[in-house]
């Protein structure tokens, strides 16, 4: 018999309670500061960049990891609530096998549904109780990537990924009077599947990069377990879920001096989504548009130069709330970084501040502040090639 469960959920954003949760940015902190993981960046330590074709130009064995601290303030017309959480979002190790072939393996989070909501009430007889809903889980990917330098003007990358995840919804009804039995229910969906991705980056000139990436739809096999206080209701069954394919496009221009501007757009059409019993008439296209600029020479502080990065990101979430009302996400990013070990490593910091939704349009909004940290390091196991 299910009675209560320890509370483990946390909120990264109010809207992470809904649908698949919050879309995670998988890139490193440099790309976050410049607008997001879909930005195309030429970085000898950019192992965490999303487009697989970008791995082809890593000169050495490179390992990187990214995490972020989220401070989210959820708002409605009546209530304001702040939550702090920490998320590990990505990891990757890349191994140049030949001068023109690089293999990488890693981990990246896709969506993070976490949070809890609670309400107070009392029965007609005056017994107070609390109803709490928890959501936790996440979709993540373990990509295996092979990247190729076709010519000095083009690189391609192919990815096969193991896709895993779980979404757990549970609730509790707890009475203040301990003699009254609590009630609880839990639904856990465990997902597994495989995916493919392909990316291409063109280098028409030394200053210009053009790229595109496509991720296949992912068909998940889902094992679903439902448990209740009424154990006779417990059930187990299987189902499927389909995450639609996505596409992203980017362009980056680097000046002869120390300036860089980058722009990208990404789309995933959730009209093709299947599974999770989410009402399909509430789903639409997920969109993301990013623009960023970097002054790579940076400012000098105590003998070191710190690059300056600034960006703007606009997203439209794939579901509406209330019916027919889009949910928009606006983010301003800025960041810097520091080179380590004579250029063999780097530490990047990015800060994002913004808003998701609005009280006037959606009745709810999140004011978010994120601190991203990315660390990458490399070792010359083999001298691969001259840097492009």
């Amino acid at each position: 018999m299910l009675t209560t469960l320890p509370a483990t959920a946390w909120t990264t954003s109010l809207f992470s309670l809904n649908f698949l949760g919050e879309k995670l940015e998988a890139g490193d902190a440099r790309s976050i500061a410049l607008g997001g993981s879909t930005q195309l960046l030429q970085d000898s330590l950019g192992v965490l960049l999303l487009n697989p074709a970008l791995m082809a130009r890593l000169p050495r064995v490179t390992v990187g990891t990214g995490q972020f601290l989220a401070i989210d303030e959820g708002r409605s017309t009546d209530v304001t609530e702040q939550d702090i959480s920490f998320t590990f979002s990505s990891f990757r190790a890349a191994f140049p096998l030949t001068p023109n072939v690089t293999f990488s393996i890693g981990y990246r989070g896709r969506y993070d549904p976490d949070g809890s909501i609670g309400t107070r009430d009392s029965t007609a007889a005056g017994d107070p109780f609390t109803t709490t809903f928890f959501r936790s889980g996440g979709l993540f990917s373990v990509p295996l990537t092979a990247s190729f330098n076709l010519t000095r003007y083009a690189s391609v990358g192919l990815t096969f990924s193991f896709e895993q995840g779980f979404v757990e919804d549970r609730f509790e009804i707890v009475f203040d009077n301990g003699a009254i039995t609590q009630g609880a229910g839990l639904k856990k969906e465990e997902l597994s599947g495989n995916g493919y991705a392909a990316g291409v980056v063109l280098y028409p000139s030394d200053n210009l990069m053009l790229g595109a990436m496509w991720e296949s739809s992912i068909d998940y096999d889902t094992d679903i377990q439902e448990r209740f206080t009424q154990s006779v209701l417990d059930t187990f069954y299987t189902s499927t879920m389909r995450l639609p394919s996505s596409a992203s496009f980017g362009v980056t221009w680097r000046s002869a001096g120390s300036f860089l501007v980058a722009g990208s757009a990404a789309f995933r059409d959730f009209d093709d989504f299947e599974g999770l019993a989410f009402p399909v008439d509430r789903l639409g296209r997920e969109e993301s548009y990013s623009f960023g600029a970097e002054y790579s020479r940076g400012v000098p502080i105590r003998g070191r130069r710190f690059p300056l990065r600034l960006s703007f990101n606009y997203q439209k979430l794939p579901f509406d709330h209330p019916l027919g009302q889009d949910i928009k996400k606006f983010l301003i990013g800025f960041g810097t970084g520091i080179s380590l070990s004579g250029g063999r490593g780097k530490l990047d910091l990015a800060f994002q501040a913004g808003k998701i939704g609005s009280i006037s349009d959606n009745g709810l909004e999140d004011r978010v502040f994120r601190v991203y940290i990315g660390i990458s390091g490399s070792e010359a196991w083999t001298r691969k090639r001259e840097d492009f």
Binding site: Q82, I117, F129, L364
Partner: protein, 379 residues
């Protein structure tokens, strides 16, 4: 100097990572934010509305008796007090008669030990052979048509029983047949005078129990004791109650049907309280513990414990928490065979308590108070 320059950035990174990890592990109280998602159905799960309801027993309740024999007490009684009549039951053990089966019985004396040497009451009684074997589960007496005559009183069947007289003669040929294993089920000593309002009691303790003193033709003598746990007081309540009654001595219980058909089998039962209204003055002294059980099937004497409580004479009601039983009944209606209430101790003394039944005034009928929540929904 170079080492320090390399160490500082690495140290900063380490400190930053630790700080982020430590400060990230915090949580706030659950917030009502996001309840619009639930109301709007987007999260897709619904814990179910909490509500309360009352189930009143309006018919189908009844009393029943599982045994009328008080066998565990340290005394045996015969007589009548108030509306309670008692009959003494005795069954002797002739299993080890041995050579006595070859002898002729010449005299038999039933020896009794009074509990109160100062009791001056006397009763007119008769001794009857029992046709059904004496046991502590008897609910009725099946007796021989003819009482055992008194050889010392010209074979008269009526006897005067008093504390002053502790020995009563029985017919030798009858006892000889018992010794020869020809059907001894027991003796019932029954009050003859229906207007009597007196009662006599006799010891039935381990070292002081009734016995038969049998004298044989060869002048030998044997004392036959009570067969273990085969003596008791058969109790009859002369005025059947229209109320629901539990009783000790007489193992009286009552049955309550519980109609839960209107509830969703998937509902969560948070609380279920059965309330019974006590008939004022109906509880006689004794242990106040009461238990309630859910019959395992339509045989209402077999049980699964559902709850427990106690009768407080100063209170007008008794309440039982029977949540688990009700939850099982709702989830699986075939398991709902009602509830039965009884004294926890049913073989300790003659006592009873009465409760208002389904025919009583609306505020006094038995009822069940439920706190439930609708079946949870996960799409």
């Amino acid at each position: 100097m170079k080492k320090t320059r390399l160490m500082m950035p690495r140290l900063c990174v380490l400190v930053l990572l630790v700080t982020l990890t430590v400060t990230g592990c915090s949580s706030d109280p659950d917030s009502p934010l996001g309840t619009d998602f639930v109301d709007g159905g987007l999260i897709g799960s619904d814990p179910g509305t909490v509500f309360q309801d009352t189930v009143i027993v309006t018919s189908g309740d009844f009393n029943f008796v599982t045994s009328a024999v008080l066998s565990a007490a340290n005394k045996l009684t015969v007589g009548r007090l108030g509306d309670i009549e008692t009959v003494m039951l005795l069954r002797f053990n002739f299993a080890n008669a041995g050579d006595d089966t070859l002898k002729t019985v010449t005299q038999v004396f039933l020896s009794l030990d009074p509990t109160d040497q100062n009791d001056t009451d006397s009763l007119n009684v008769r001794f009857f052979p029992m046709l059904d074997e004496m046991s502590d589960t008897l609910t009725s007496l099946n007796l021989a048509a003819t009482a055992i005559p008194d050889p010392g009183n010209s074979g008269a069947v009526d006897r005067t029983m008093s504390i002053a007289r502790t020995s009563y003669r029985l017919e030798p040929t009858l006892v000889e047949s018992w010794i020869d294993n020809l059907g001894h089920n027991g003796i019932a000593i029954i009050l003859v005078d229906a207007t009597t309002t007196k009662e006599l009691s006799w010891n039935s303790q381990a070292n002081v129990t009734p016995f038969l003193r049998v004298i044989f033709g060869d002048a030998t003598e044997t004392r036959y004791k009570i067969k273990v746990n085969h003596d008791g007081t058969f109790v009859t309540f002369l005025n059947p109650s229209s109320n629901l009654r539990i009783s000790d001595g007489v193992r009286g219980r009552f049955f309550l049907p519980i109609d839960l058909s209107r509830f969703d089998t998937r509902a969560i039962v948070h609380d279920a309280m059965l309330t019974l209204s006590l008939v004022p003055g109906s509880f006689t002294v004794g242990d106040q513990s009461v238990l309630i059980y859910a019959p395992a099937d339509t045989v209402i004497t077999s049980r699964r414990l559902a709850g427990a409580g106690s009768v407080d004479p100063a209170s007008t009601v008794i309440r039982f928490r029977v949540r688990e039983a009700i939850e099982e009944f709702i989830a699986n209606p075939s398991m709902n065979n009602g509830l039965v209430v009884r004294f926890t101790l049913e073989n300790s003394s003659i006592r009873q308590a009465e409760f208002f039944n389904s025919a009583a005034a609306p505020g006094l009928k038995p009822f069940l108070s439920l706190t439930l929540s609708d079946a949870p929904t996960f799409p």
